[in-house]
Amino acid sequence: MSKSTGTANTTALQGARHVLQRSGFGESVSSTLAAVDAGADKVLSERLAGKAPIAPLPPPAWTRQPLTLFESFRDLPKREAISARKALRKAQRQQILELRGWWLSNLLVTDNPLGARLTLFWQNHFTSSHRKVNYAELMYRQHVSLMRHASGSFRDLLSAMLRDPAMLIYLDAPRNRRDKPNENLGRELLELFTLGEGGGYDQRDVREVARALSGIQLDETKAYRFNPKRHDAGDKLILGERGAFAVDEVVEVLLAHPGTAEWIVHKLWQAFVLPEPPERSVRAELGALYRASDYDTRTLMRALFEQPAFRATRSHGQLVKSPVEFVIGTCRALGLSQAEPLVLVRATQAMGMDLYAPPTVQGWPTGERWINAQSLLARDRFVANLLRDDAVDLERAGAGRARETILGATLASGLHDSVPAGGNPLERALRSAAWNLN
């Protein structure tokens, strides 16, 4: 294959495209060709090493200011209290919109795309929603916490989440008291965050975990506080382990159970490797590896990327891009490092993904469920509008490349023929149905 005609070896091109999409958001045609030269393994190594900050852009100013609480209006005369609360709600709506724009703007330019993808993964795992938490400042703090631990220790991540104010508010932890239990956090901790549904716990474990988590409170600045007076200090029996457990001990009991590692493996597999869950033996093997590494997520990701299932051509294009992956991926494919944040935010919302506000505690429904009549139209509309934008130079983005190279750099093999011929090949690729796939 000749460089001067802009074509490249198909297999190598596909390998590079696959790795760039799966470990990030995909890149422009030129960057993909550069990745071919470097080699897929090197690209993966660099991404796994990922030292650059996930979110390099400065956060909105209000993230550095003290919280204004709804409670602070309690002593005001009634009419003023009502208008103060209204103003604060309005300010909060504005802030969360800015936060969404900030995160998406970062994804356009991040030099740590795998760290970013992992952060998005954890945001859909350790869910919380601004609609209930009410404070964009707390959503930001949770986000920072997730970024800090995204590729690192899952133990640290889990422990951080069990002290995270946004998480605690979302799952009613401060309402969980020795004399008045509330099982919400306990249940979701087992069902969603660690063992997973059917992962080997029962109703009694839920109740006992709830007991162990009692006494968690937030102080008057919404920071984590433990109140021993509200804590049920008695013995609990959780997953066969007995002790006067509190938060930290619960973490250890959960991590000691092989089901936790396997559940995380299962979820990461479906997010990064294939939509079908891994075979039992593979799941067990990777789970054991995760535990042996003391829950080092980077180690697990490396193992996932080395799986034959990941490397096989068969896995190409099998995953549906989430709205964020779709929006950011399209911009990056066109070489855009900047875009109007609100446009990006509205697009992802229209596609069904409102950042910091997943529909339920289970998070956003992923995979094929991203695609229905509504979301398909929203995706098409986004690309159509973007291609009309002055900042987009289609000619330059695909300049000097043959159609085959452009398609090879953007779409998974086996799907190229679904793109109608004629017109600008890059435009055709980005408006094709296949562009929705990773």
Binding site: D172, R175, R177, D179, K180, P181, N182, E183, N184, R187, E191, L192, E197, G198, Q203, P275, E276, R314, G317, Q318, L319, V320, G352, P359, T360, V361, Q362, P365, G367, E368, R369, I371, N372, A373, Q374, L376, L377, A378, D380, R381, A384, G414, L415, D417, S418, V419, P420, R431, S432, A433, A434, N436, L437
Partner: protein, 386 residues
């Protein structure tokens, strides 16, 4: 509900003398409207044992006052916010089925709604929604779109993406689908996600052509008025679609917010109000169009809530709960055993009627689709259709 991969639906069943669709040839086809109460509706405060002292003992804060509830008989009454439904109760068009649930109840949202939407047992996992075989059996009318979820997810339609459409807003839908590029068909890709994309694209384009016509009809009578509750809007759209007879026979809408662990009273009241207003709007419009006797409405929810209130003014996940069945041909009344607060099972209400019997009623008695080979096989329909 999980709907992984596209399973090609078999060709529609050959029409017999008792044509599937539940109508004699020439008559209007029957419609089924499912209303999901998302989050787990508190049945005990919906259909209230207003004279039971144990009810008040279990719920010192949340129990509804006896004189506030709308008495249905000497034991049970409705939440006061359901007032708009009383007219249907009095006409005998509202059946309330007590104790709907299943054995080995699961209290996880994710798992339990899965069970309800796939009609599976608690210990099995199914991929297809319970409507999938129904979609396959219903005759293809108009566009061939047989089911519509006026919401963002397919739920009980999962697995029938060839026959059903999911969407939120008709006009926007029609405008945007004009620009969809038609993908060149590929076969044998071995890529389930791609095939799903293709199926959705085809269905979108087909539905759009149809809904364009329905909108043109709607423009003539539309009256731009104040913002109304979402469920009212959605059910009015359902009524319009039923009246226009464009093909779909099964509809699903969702009312969300029922997961009331904290401070339930106000939120539940508002939800009850919206539910009643929505159902009233649907029924009213269908009656005007002469289609009320061709329509069956059924609520469902992943579970009820605990008999006792919790420490946060709310209730935690429970088990069985009552469900509503409404329609012009429904045999109204209270059905099944009222909840026995003296015989709680692990602090929860025992179930009396397996939810699949309600589905079986809708599928066999109402839509005339045989249940053989479906997850509903063996579940006896209830005598709810008159």
């Amino acid at each position: 509900m999980l709907g992984i991969g596209l399973h090609h639906a078999p060709l529609a069943a050959v029409a017999s003398a008792d044509e599937p669709g539940g109508a004699s040839p020439g008559a209007s086809p029957r419609a089924l409207v499912l209303v999901e109460l998302k989050g787990g509706n508190d049945g005990l405060n919906t259909v209230v044992p207003y004279r039971d002292a144990r009810y008040r003992a279990l719920r010192p804060k949340l129990a509804l006052a006896a004189d506030a509830t709308l008495a249905l008989d000497e034991r049970q009454g409705l939440h006061p916010a359901l007032q708009p439904l009383m007219r249907y109760w009095e006409r005998g068009e509202l059946a309330i089925v007590n104790g709907v649930g299943y054995s080995n109840p699961n209290r996880s949202h994710f798992r339990s709604i899965d069970i309800w939407e796939t009609a599976s047992n608690a210990d099995e996992t199914r991929v297809d929604g319970w409507l999938r075989p129904v979609m396959a059996a219903l005759p293809s009318r108009g566009t061939g779109i047989k089911g519509v979820a006026l919401d963002s997810d397919d739920g009980p339609f999962a697995g029938s993406s060839l026959d059903s459409v999911v969407m939120g807003n008709l006009q926007r839908f029609v405008n945007q689908s004009r620009h969809l590029a038609r993908t060149q068909a590929l076969t044998g890709t071995g890529n389930a996600a791609f095939e799903h994309l293709m199926a959705v694209e085809r269905a979108t384009l087909d539905a759009s052509a149809v809904f364009q016509r329905s909108l043109e009809a709607k423009k003539r009578e539309h009256d731009p008025d104040a913002k109304r509750p979402a469920l009212v809007e959605k059910l009015e759209n359902v009524a319009r679609l039923i009246a226009l007879d464009l093909g779909p026979q099964v509809y699903k809408v969702t009312l969300a917010g029922f997961d009331t662990h904290v401070d339930q009273a106000g939120r539940h009241r508002r939800l009850m109000k919206q539910l009643a207003q929505g159902l009233d709007a649907l029924a009213g419009r269908l009656r005007d169009e002469g289609r009320w006797s061709d329509t069956l409405v059924m609520t469902y929810s992943e579970f009820g809530r605990r008999a006792a209130e919790n420490g946060s003014g709310g209730t935690d996940h429970g088990t069985a709960a009552p469900q509503f069945v409404m329609g012009g041909r429904v045999r109204g009344g209270l059905v099944g055993t009222p909840p026995d607060l003296g015989r709680l099972v692990d602090h929860d209400l025992a179930f009396d009627v397996d939810f699949r019997r309600l589905y079986a009623t809708a599928v066999t008695d109402w839509l005339g689709v045989p249940d053989k080979g479906t997850p509903l096989e063996g579940f006896e329909p209830m005598p709810l259709i008159g």
